[in-house]
């Protein structure tokens, strides 16, 4: 045996000496990859990281452009804004029928993925020892993004785990944080962002820009106003809205046909497109469909699955400019009596890559202040804000004169002004406590049944399994 081992050892060692060294295994990283430590060594690389976060937000399942996942689209089906024509997308069917299951909504994991990215970015910038010129911008943009993501998260799911680190061991065992504390975090992040961000718009390298796709101080302020409104801090909401509306150099209400053009003065902040495509809404509702189509099912040929509900169409007052510019009638030939479909037409340009998805715009800030003022019993202030919006739409001043009347007029105005935008209808119904009444009455029209628990989306089954401290939202089957 010893001889065997001896022979063996000699031959083996010769080979070990002649063939390769360990260095052979020090291969370079894949061409499109850098190590995390190299991502935080300069303004240039951090700029790319922060830009990457915006890109993820822009293409993710909440703001992104798939009809099976886009939050604005799906919540419009979920409430009373859109009718569903699709027989092929089970997610659309589930949303339209108010019968979603945990598998139908990917928004939770999408938002948390983006939150992880932002948390990593904040930690990376904070730990970076190099001298950064635009550190404030990078941090401010990151805090703003985190606040935005949590805003949607808590409004969709209620009490949510508050992950503010990138550590997987911590985040994998979080329990749910009460919504009020989540709002506190959002407010704290936005306050930080206000302090860090510039008042003007910049590009990815800190240079002033006319593009309104990276948040500035007013974007943080606008979102803060919205957050205070949702948190029912009327005073603070009005104060924050003031500072945006008062900045007339940057912001103004535009005529309805110009509202959704890129980088217009009404835009406070929008998301730049991440893929080569026309605006998502164009693809959802127009997609090259002519004004006359041959059959009731023809929109499916254009992959158009959603039509405006008659309730929404008939909610417009006569003479509303928004009806003429933001609603597109398509007549179905050969039907008797003649039949017309109505489609949202806010983003009517088929141009690729040139239109931004507007997340925060001035009209909403007016409506936020109107509502806050109404709650604060500033009747005339509320009326003037509401009338600013109505005047722009070519409508007469509001007739509402008391708090209750104004609140209901503002709610109606929000429904028309913000229809199929940013899940506003769904959130408004929820935060004003009217959703159960509205939906219980409306659901039978779409052969659905509304239940109180449906205000909150179901939490993914996987996460409930993996994180033992996480509890499900009641009512859903896990």
């Amino acid at each position: 045996m010893r001889i065997i081992i001896k022979h063996f050892a000699i031959i083996t060692s010769i080979l070990l000496l002649t063939t390769g060294c360990k260095k052979y295994l020090d291969t370079p990283l894949p061409a499109n990859t850098i190590s995390a430590e190299n991502a935080y060594i300069s303004d240039n690389s951090i700029s790319a990281v922060v830009t990457g976060n915006f890109e993820e937000v822009s293409s993710g399942d909440v703001f992104g452009g798939s009809a099976g996942s886009n939050l604005a689209y799906l919540t419009s089906l979920y409430v009373d804004e859109l009718q569903n024509l699709s027989t092929s997308s089970s997610h659309n069917i589930a949303f339209y029928n108010d019968a979603i299951q945990p598998g139908d909504t990917k928004h939770w994991s999408s938002l948390y993925t983006e939150i992880f990215d932002v948390n990593s970015t904040i930690e990376g910038i904070r730990n970076s020892t190099v001298n950064l010129y635009y550190k404030n911008q990078w941090l401010g943009e990151s805090y703003f993004t985190r606040a935005l993501l949590y805003f949607y998260l808590t409004n969709l799911y209620g009490d949510v785990p508050l992950a503010i680190t990138s550590d997987y061991a911590t985040n994998n065992t979080l329990s749910r944080t009460p919504q009020s504390q989540v709002y506190q975090q959002i407010i704290a992040d936005l306050r930080q962002a206000q302090g860090l961000l510039n008042s003007g718009y910049t590009d990815a390298y800190g240079v002033a820009s006319t593009h309104r796709v990276r948040p500035n101080r007013y974007a943080a302020t606008a979102l803060l106003a919205k957050t205070y409104l949702y948190a029912q801090k009327w005073d603070s909401a009005a104060t924050q809205a003031d500072s945006v509306i008062n900045n007339t150099d940057s912001y103004a209400l535009l005529s309805t046909d110009k509202v959704f053009s890129a980088n217009g003065k009404e835009t406070i902040w929008g998301l730049a497109p991440n893929v080569s495509s026309a605006a998502y809404e164009y693809n959802f509702f127009i997609a090259g469909m002519p004004a006359t189509i041959p059959s009731l099912n023809a929109p499916l040929d254009y992959n158009v699955f959603g039509i405006m509900d008659t309730a929404l169409v008939s909610a417009f007052e006569a003479g509303d400019n928004r009806y003429t510019t933001w609603v597109r009638p398509v007549s179905v030939s050969g039907t008797n009596p003649a039949f017309t479909y109505y489609f949202p037409n806010k983003y009517s340009s088929p141009a690729v890559n040139s239109v931004n998805e507007i997340i925060l715009r001035l009209a909403e800030i007016y409506l936020i202040r109107a509502e806050a003022r109404a709650h604060l019993n500033d009747i005339s202030g509320a009326q003037s804000d509401l009338n600013a919006i109505r005047t722009r739409a070519g409508l007469p001043n509001t007739t509402a004169g008391d708090q209750a009347g104004l609140l209901s007029a503002i709610a109606k105005e929000r429904r028309i002004e913000l229809f199929t935008e940013g899940a506003n209808r769904f959130f408004d119904l929820k935060r004003t406590g009217t959703i159960d009444a509205v939906m219980t009455a409306f659901a039978p029209q779409k052969k659905a049944t509304w239940n109180h628990y449906m205000q909150l989306f179901p939490i993914p089954t996987n996460d409930l399994i993996q994180d033992p401290n996480l509890t499900p939202n009641p009512g859903y089957q896990q």
Binding site: P30, N97, Y112, D117, N171, V213, A287, N462
Partner: protein, 1129 residues
């Protein structure tokens, strides 16, 4: 780097670990036996049937001549001394028969070349052990004289390296490159000539071959009939099953060529115990999944075995094709497969290495099994030209039956009635808009075509002495059965060159092949949408084959789905394989070898989405045109130098020591240009011409490094021991954890060579007991999981590029450990006419690398770690080969194999809640499900029994805790059954494969329950629930979406899984070989004509879905019928 180069001093110290491994291996020694090839004459192949009392020798020999063609010669007068014999034998091999006949006779026999010569038995009849023929007593004292002869195979090609030994003496030698040998012998000696893969032959030395006037001696060896003598390709070198202590299954070209298939995996399906092969899609160029023995894995399912083609690691799994979700080939080819780009006709053999002994040498990559593919090589012999051509048709495979219009309309009306609704204007299918009498089977419309397939190849080979060559070319083409008549075709050019110096000290083998494949099939699988249209919908095509947008305008599913035939696709894949083997033998016993292999597979895909795929009224059609160019390249370089040392140790022992290294360098590269918005469809072939263009690029290197040593010791051809040790390095781990030490030990005992077996159980012609155990490392995880990295996002945001985190990195990742054990028994009876092999393997995996699912709150769905779970994969495999009938004109042989795999979780991972489907003591391949309680006879809805035993039609309220049932989805058993029947010049082969497992039934795969507009159902729905009291397994129809939700519970219940067991007539081949006489007249070496069929018949109760690919939305394996001709000049 903290760890300096391997050649540094610290690394030298670390080599101690290596020695330690050897010590561990030493402890696990087991001794086994091996037997030398039993000396047998060619007479084995014949058998005799004879009965009678007191027969004289003349009668007996006449019978032999008549039945076997063997002629008996004897010295005059010898037969006079013979005693009459009595017996009754049926179909007894000739040798046995002769032994029996001459048991008590004063003479013995020798067989050479169809001649049996009798000679006087030198001594009185002795013990039965001596029954084999002995050297006849020489007439006078012999003087050793040199004899020269030449050894040839049946075709007259020289056999180099054959062993020639003289019976009962130490004299032996071997043949040179031209088959010539010279040996010192005496007249009357018996030479035994043996060669791996051939039946041994005995030749008696007669005076005519000696001296000055000697005659030339030619010895022709016949190919071994027994599987035991088939050549097996090992990691480095070859062996035969007889002498191999490891577990290897070999499939040769002979079996492969009977299958008219595109991918060789189809041909070996059901033929290799322990290897489960599933064809994922019937599209030519589609994907396969392979699983060798258990899955042994938590998350990734089956890790495919390593594929090595001619010494180079080959992409055996899916290919880096375009993954563009809306325009790519995802659903169409399911990822493709690397072996689609090797013509099965070019494969000489496939060796599947299964146990630790066989695979340990491949180190980490061999942890999940190894498949070695050897392509056809040059063989010495006269120049010959072989042509093989076949052509045939493919048609659609198994698919479920759908309702006809009348049944469909009744179902739709019933659905509306069930929901209390009335027919609406948009219900075109039943409101009279579409004729209620019109019927289309949309599957026939879209994929009912038959497609032609053709395969032609030409091989020229030859050579003499030290140099041989082979050049071959082939062309093949496979049509698509879908409506668009695209096809996939390729051409291959191959060469192989063998040359050696005159003294045979240096040897060079070069081979190379280049394949270029082109596919222009529409990248769309129509089976996904076929059930999604009403049977009375208007026809989507005009008679001229174009899409009828006007006539079918009111059918949203029709023209828009039909328009997919206007999508364009072109895939050009080139596959270059090059191999060089250098052998140098500086001194006796030492061989230095280097194998260099190179593979480069490049794929260019161009996918177009022209305006013709869209409604002509679409005002933005041009804006929406899309074109993608995807280029991918996988190149692998494998260099494995090794040294081998052979010597005789302690007289009867043969020692072989090998040591070497292996370096693998792989680069996976792709880039993609995709454009949107073209001013003309004609510009779609240039994606950069789009109005908006995005491009992406990826390049991922992988390197692996391994050193190994093998010691093999064979004692007296009875006991074999094999030791493997290996040190592996992989770039998949952090710098501190890159290297791991692994090894194996195997032993075999060929007990049929023991005297007591020979004495007492002579019916046993071969018996081997073998065992192996080893530790193999695994690294089947994503590259760079140990490092926190950022990658470019691919797109831009406001013109600026972005970076994004890739992974939750775990810097502590280490090698996974697979402890494999196997014990096997191989028995052959009646001169190998019955061969039985049984294996039991027991593989325990620990430290397993797992992408552990985590809460998505962490930002990722999973985190890669070394799990502390312990998993056992064990199983039984058995194969039986029999030669049922063997006469001169008629033979019938059968092969059967079965594999019974099981897996078990021995220790649940402490990382809690890894996946709730993992239960201690249960297989990993199972899932937890709700207990399905059938369709509620009262309501017509699915009902379930919850954990408390309450049965209801739950739509909500069921929780994870109610998943009380466990179903294992892995195959319970699988295998194959093959028969070969030959009669005179005809041969007939048929092979079945079978699998027993459960699968998701078509009801659960519906996606939408029937009842919706335009969704047709399978005929199962004829037995649907219709009124309270109906007892059935099919629920009521409804157009309410509540019902879709009910389906989501159903798919998580036991009701969704049914028995998908099947047996399939995989292959039928009928051949006619022209007789040698006829061939001689035609001046041909060989001529065969044949008919073949693939996937002809499936026996299954799986509701019409194909039980192999189990999918309702992917085209099932095709049925193929071909006819062909093979001709050799």
């Amino acid at each position: 780097m903290q760890n300096a180069a391997y050649c540094s001093r610290s690394a030298w110290l670390r080599r101690r670990n290596f020695t330690k491994t050897l010590l561990v291996m030493k402890l696990t020694f087991l001794l086994m036996t091996a037997a030398f090839l039993h000396v047998q004459a060619t007479g084995w192949t014949q058998s005799v049937t004879l009965s009678g009392k007191n027969l004289n020798m003349k009668q007996v020999f006449a019978a032999i001549k008549k039945q076997t063609g063997y002629v008996v010669f004897s010295k005059k007068g010898l037969l006079d001394e013979a005693r009459p014999v009595s017996f009754s034998v049926h179909d007894m091999p000739l040798v046995d028969f002769l032994d029996l006949t001459m048991k008590d006779q004063p003479f013995t026999y020798l067989i050479a070349d169809k001649t049996i010569s009798l000679s006087r038995r030198p001594a009185p009849v002795v013990a039965p052990a001596e029954k084999r023929p002995e050297t006849p007593a020489p007439d006078q004292t012999p003087t050793p004289t040199p004899i020269t002869g030449r050894i040839l195979d049946a075709d007259g090609n020289p056999l180099a390296g054959a062993t020639i030994s003289v019976k009962n003496s130490k004299i032996s030698g071997s043949s040179g490159a031209d088959g010539v040998f010279t040996l010192n012998v005496s007249e009357g000696d018996v030479m035994i000539i043996s060669y791996v893969g051939y039946a041994s032959q005995q030749v008696r030395v007669s005076g005519q071959y000696l001296g000055a006037q000697k005659k030339a001696l030619f010895i022709r060896l016949q190919q071994g009939n027994s599987d035991l003598d088939q050549v097996q390709v090992l990691a480095h070198g070859t062996s035969t099953k007889r002498l191999n202590p490891g577990d290897i299954t070999t499939i040769t070209a002979k079996e492969i060529e009977k299958n008219p298939v595109n991918n060789v995996f189809e041909a070996i399906q059901g033929k290799v115990p322990g290897l489960f092969i599933q064809q994922v899609t019937g599209q030519p160029g589609g994907a396969f999944t392979l699983r060798l023995r258990g899955s042994a894995n938590f998350t990734t399912g089956a890790i495919p075995p390593l594929i090595v083609v001619d010494g180079v690691r080959y992409p055996g799994g899916t290919l880096p094709l375009s993954t563009d979700a809306s325009y790519g080939t995802q659903n169409f080819l399911q990822g493709g497969n690397g072996l689609n780009y090797i013509n099965p006709n070019d494969i000489a053999s496939i060796d599947v290495l299964k146990d630790a002994d066989a695979t340990a040498i491949y180190g980490s990559s061999g942890a999940y099994g190894v498949i070695l593919i050897t392509t056809k090589k040059a063989k010495p012999g006269n120049s010959s030209l072989t042509a093989n051509v076949y052509t045939g048709v493919s048609i659609r495979g198994e698919m479920p039956k759908l309702l006809n219009t009348q049944q469909y309309v009744a179902m739709r009306q019933e659905a509306l009635k069930n929901d209390g609704l009335t027919v609406s204007p948009s219900d075109l299918d039943i409101n009279g808009t579409w004729p209620l009498t019109r019927y289309h089977d949309w599957r026939k419309v879209y994929m009912g075509a038959s497609a032609q397939s053709t395969n032609a190849s030409l091989t020229y080979s030859g050579g003499a002495k030290n140099s041989t060559y082979m050049i071959s070319g082939s062309l093949r083409n496979n049509g698509n059965i879908q409506r668009h008549k695209g096809s996939m075709g390729d051409g291959t050019l191959r060469f192989s060159l063998n040359t050696a110096t005159a003294d045979d000290k240096f040897n060079l083998n070069l081979s190379g092949s280049f394949l270029s494949s082109k596919s222009d099939m529409v990248p769309y699988d129509f089976s996904q949408s076929l059930a999604l249209d009403a049977p009375n919908a208007p026809p989507a095509f005009l008679p001229n084959g174009s899409v009828d947008w006007i006539g079918a305008a009111d059918d949203p599913n029709g023209p828009s789905s039909a328009a997919n035939i206007n999508r364009t696709y072109k895939n050009v894949t080139n596959n270059l394989l090059a191999n060089g083997t250098l052998v140098y033998r500086p001194v006796k016993g030492v061989t230095l070898r280097a194998i260099i292999g190179y593979n480069d597979m490049t794929t260019k895909e161009l996918m177009g989405y022209p305006t013709t795929t869209m409604n002509p009224t679409n005002t933005q059609a041009a804006q929406q045109t899309h074109s993608v160019f995807h280029y991918s390249d996988q190149r692998t370089l494998t260099v494995s130098p090794y040294a081998e040392y052979n010597r005789t140790l302690w007289k009867k022992g043969e020692l072989s020591v090998k040591a070497g290294g292996e370096i693998t360098d792989r680069l996976t590269y792709w880039n993609e240009i995709s454009g949107i918005g073209f001013s003309s469809d004609a510009l779609l072939s240039d994606p950069a011409a789009g109005s908006s263009v995005v491009s992406s690029y990826s390049q991922t290197p992988l390197r692996a490094l391994g050193f190994y040593g093998i010691i093999k010791y064979v004692w007296d051809q009875k006991y074999i021991i094999d030791l493997n040790g290996r040190r592996d390095g992989s770039t998949r781990f952090g710098p501190d954890n890159r290297f791991g030490n692994f090894g194996s030990v195997a032993a075999a005992w060929i007990f049929s060579e023991e005297k007591f077996i020979k004495d007492h159980a002579s019916f046993l012609s071969y018996g081997k007991l073998r065992a192996s155990t080893g530790v193999i490392g695994g690294d089947a995880i994503t590259d760079y999981s140990y490092l926190s990295t950022y990658s470019i996002t691919g797109g831009t945001y406001d013109g600026a590029p972005g970076l994004s985190p890739n992974i939750l990195a775990n810097p502590n990742l280490k090698w996974e450990k697979n402890r494999d054990k196997e014990i096997g028994l191989e028995l052959a009876f009646l001169h190998d006419r019955l061969f039985v092999e049984g294996n039991y393997y027991h593989n325990v995996t620990s430290n397993q690398l797992v992408a552990r699912p985590v809460s998505t709150v962490t930002g990722f769905p999973s985190y890669t770690l070394n799990s502390d779970a312990v998993i056992r994969n064990s199983g039984w495999e058995m194969s039986v080969n029999t030669t049922n009938i063997k006469t001169r004109d008629f033979t019938w042989s059968t092969r059967f194999n079965i594999s019974i795999p099981t897996s078990k979780l021995l220790k649940v991972p402490t990382q809690a809640n890894q996946n709730t489907n993992y239960i201690l003591g249960k297989p990993l391949t199972g899932i937890l499900l709700y207990k399905y309680a059938g369709v509620n006879p009262e309501t017509g809805y699915f009902s379930y029994t919850n954990a408390k035993g309450v049965t209801q039609d739950y739509t909500s309220g069921l929780t994870q805790a109610d998943k009380t049932e466990f179903i294992d989805l892995a195959p319970k058993f699988y295998g194959g059954f093959q028969n070969t029947v030959t009669y005179k010049q005809f041969s007939l082969d048929f092979s079945f494969s079978f699998t027993s497992r459960k699968g998701l039934n078509s009801l659960a795969q519906s996606g939408y329950l029937p009842g919706f507009t335009g969704i047709n159902a399978t005929t199962d729905w004829l037995r649907r629930w219709q009124k309270p009291g109906d007892n059935t397994d099919i629920p009521k129809v409804s157009i309410l979406n509540l019902f879709v939700d009910r389906l989501s519970n159903f798919t998580k219940s036991t009701g969704a899984y049914t028995n998908a067991s099947y047996a399939r007539l995989q292959n039928l081949s009928f051949r006619y070989h022209f007789s040698p006489d006829l061939l001689r007249k035609m001046h041909l070496k060989d001529l065969t004509i044949y008919l073949q069929g693939q996937n002809l018949l499936t026996i299954s109760k799986f509701g019409g879905l194909d039980p192999e690919n189990l999918s309702a939305s992917v085209i099932p394996p095709l049925r193929v019928f071909t006819g062909g001709i093979n001709l050799t000049l």
